[in-house]
Amino acid sequence: MIKILLFVIISSNFSYSQNFHTPENRKLFADYLFCSKDYLRAVLEYEEYIKHFDNDTVLFKIALGYSKIENYNEAVKRFINISVQSDYYSSARLEYLKSKLFLEDYNSIIDFSRNNLRNNELKLISMSILLSDKNLPERNNFIFAFEDNLRTQIEDFFDHKINPPYKSPLLAGIFSTVVPGSGKLYTNQISEGLTSLVLNGLVAFLSYNNFKNDHTTRGWIFAGVGAFFYAGNIYGSAVSANIYNQRVDYEYKENVKVFLEAHNYFIERYEFCK
C-alpha cells in the first residue's frame, strides 16, 4: 500500500510541470492582458488559445480587442463571424455596426440585414443615416426607436439634417457685389467684412480722387487695384459661405458622435473585468 502511494506521489510530482504556454494558461494570461487594456497582446494570446479550443467568449473578445485597438477592418471581419448560437451574437451585431460607423461605411450599415432588427440596432442605423448623405425617412418612422428621454435630442438632430443652417454662397456673392464686405458679414466674418468694405471704399475713393485731379495714370492704377479687391471680395464671400457650411457640417457630425459616445453606441457595458 505504502509502495503504491509512494509511486503515485513521486511519479505525479516528477511529471508536474507548469507550462505557461498551455492553451489554458494562455487564456488566463490573455484575460489578464485584456483587463489591463493591453488589447493587442490579449488578442494574440486568445488567437493561440482558439487554435486548440472553440470558445464563443474568446472569439468575441478577439473581435472586441481589434475594435479597441481601432483595427476596425479586422474587427468587422471577426464580429460578422460570431455564430448565431453565441451568447454574444446580439452584442457582436451592435459592435459590427459600431465598427462600420468608425469606418464611415454608412452604406453597409444602412444595408445591414433588416430582418429581425433589434431596437438598439435600429437606433445605431438611424444615427448612421444622420451621419450619411442618405435621405431621411418620415419623422415618426425615424424617432420611434428611441426612448422618450432621447427624443428631443434626436428630433434636434433630425431637424438639423433636414434643414441645416447653411449660408448661401450665391447670396454671399450677391451681397458683396452690391455692398463690398456685406457677404462676409452675412457669413459672420465681421472683422473681415468691415476690412473689405473700408479697403474697397478707400481704393475706389483714391481712384476717383486721382481722376478728378487729372492724375489719370494713378487713377487707372488705383482703379485696377480696386477692381482686383472688388473681385476678390466677391469670390472671398462665396468661399467664406462654403467654409461656414463645412463648419456647420463638422460641428453637427461631432455632436452626433458625442451623443453616440455618451450612450455607448447603444451597447450594454461588458463585465469581463469585474
Binding site: 510530482n13 508536474y16 507548469q18 507550462n19 494570461f29 489578464y32 492582458l33 483714391l206
Partner: protein, 281 residues
C-alpha cells in the same frame, strides 16, 4: 504518530516543496526566455513574455526585474509614458535603495526625453534633497544639465555641468553652443532701428540689403509725398507699402535668428546623440 504516518507526511511535504521549486524553475526559464528576446531587441515579444512572468509569479520574485525590463523595452520602442508606468512599478517592488535610485533616474531620463522638463527637474530636486542619495549629487547635476539641454537652455545646462567639475566636457560644450546662439530680441531691435540690420546680424546679407533697399525706397516716396503736400498719397504709401515692408523686415530678422538657432541646437543634439560617448538619457 506512527512510522507510516510520518513517512506519508514527509512525502507530502516533499511533494509540495518540489511543486513550488518546479514552478519557480519554470518561471526562471520563462524569465530567461524573455530576457533573450530583450537582448535580441525583440521588444514587443519581450514585453509579452515579461508580462507572462509577472502574471504567473505568485511569489513576487520577479516583480522588480520583470517590470524594469518591460519599462526598458517600452522605452526602446519610444513608448515613454508606458515606460514611466513600469519603472514606477519596478520602483515599488525595489528591495534595495540602489534599485529605487536606478528606477527614479530612469524616470528622470524619460521625462528629459519627452521634454517634460519641469517634471524631470522636480524629480531631480527631490533626490537632491533626499539624504539617502547624498552621494549621488554629481550624477543628479549631470541629468539636470541634460534636462536643460533638452529644453534648449544651454547656459543653465552649462552651469549644472560645471557644478560637477568646472571644466566638465559638457559644460564647455553647452557654453559654446550658448555663445553661438543668436539673440532673437537683439536681431529684432536692430531691425527696428535700421531695417536690414537684424538680417546682417544673422548673416543673411542679401536679405538685409533687399530689406534696406525696399524700406529706403518706400520711405523716400512717403517723405517726398508729404514734403510735396500730397498728404493722402503719403498716407497710402506709408500705410500700404512702407509699414508693411518695415514690419516684414522685423519679422524676417526674428525668423532668421530662430532658424539659425534651431540649426545650431539640432547640430549640437546630433553631436550629443552620435558622437558624445558619455551617459545619455
Amino acid at each position: 504518530m506512527n512510522f507510516v504516518n510520518r513517512i506519508i507526511l514527509s512525502i507530502q511535504i516533499f511533494f509540495l516543496l518540489s511543486i513550488c521549486i518546479n514552478a519557480q524553475t519554470e518561471l526562471f526559464e520563462q524569465f530567461h526566455y524573455a530576457q533573450s528576446l530583450y537582448e535580441n531587441e525583440n521588444y514587443f515579444d519581450a514585453v509579452t513574455e515579461f508580462k507572462r512572468v509577472l502574471f504567473f509569479d505568485d511569489q513576487k520574485e520577479f516583480q522588480y526585474s520583470a517590470n524594469f525590463y518591460i519599462a526598458d523595452s517600452y522605452k526602446s520602442g519610444g513608448m515613454f509614458s508606458e515606460a514611466i508606468r513600469y519603472f514606477t512599478l519596478a520602483e515599488l517592488a525595489s528591495q534595495t535603495i540602489d534599485d529605487v535610485y536606478i528606477c527614479k533616474i530612469e524616470n528622470i531620463k524619460l521625462n528629459i526625453l519627452r521634454r517634460t522638463t519641469e517634471r524631470a527637474n522636480r524629480l531631480i530636486d527631490e533626490l537632491l534633497s533626499d539624504e539617502r542619495f547624498s552621494s549621488k549629487t554629481k550624477e543628479l547635476y549631470y541629468w539636470k544639465g541634460w534636462s536643460y539641454i533638452f529644453s534648449d537652455k544651454w547656459e543653465e545646462a552649462s552651469n549644472e555641468f560645471s557644478k560637477i567639475k568646472p571644466d566638465h566636457e559638457l559644460s564647455s560644450f553647452s557654453q559654446a553652443i550658448y555663445d553661438s546662439l543668436y539673440d532673437v530680441q537683439f536681431a529684432k531691435v536692430l531691425s527696428y532701428i535700421l531695417p536690414g540690420a537684424g538680417q546682417f546680424y544673422t548673416g543673411e546679407y542679401l536679405s538685409g540689403i533687399l530689406s534696406l533697399g525696399w524700406n529706403a525706397l518706400w520711405g523716400y516716396l512717403t517723405i517726398n509725398a508729404f514734403t510735396e503736400e500730397r498728404v493722402f498719397d503719403g498716407l497710402v504709401v506709408a500705410n500700404f507699402l512702407w509699414l508693411r515692408f518695415y514690419n516684414g523686415n522685423v519679422y524676417n530678422a526674428e525668423k532668421f535668428a530662430r532658424e539659425k538657432n534651431r540649426k545650431i541646437t539640432n547640430r549640437a543634439l546630433d553631436y550629443l546623440q552620435s558622437i558624445y560617448v558619455g551617459d545619455k538619457p
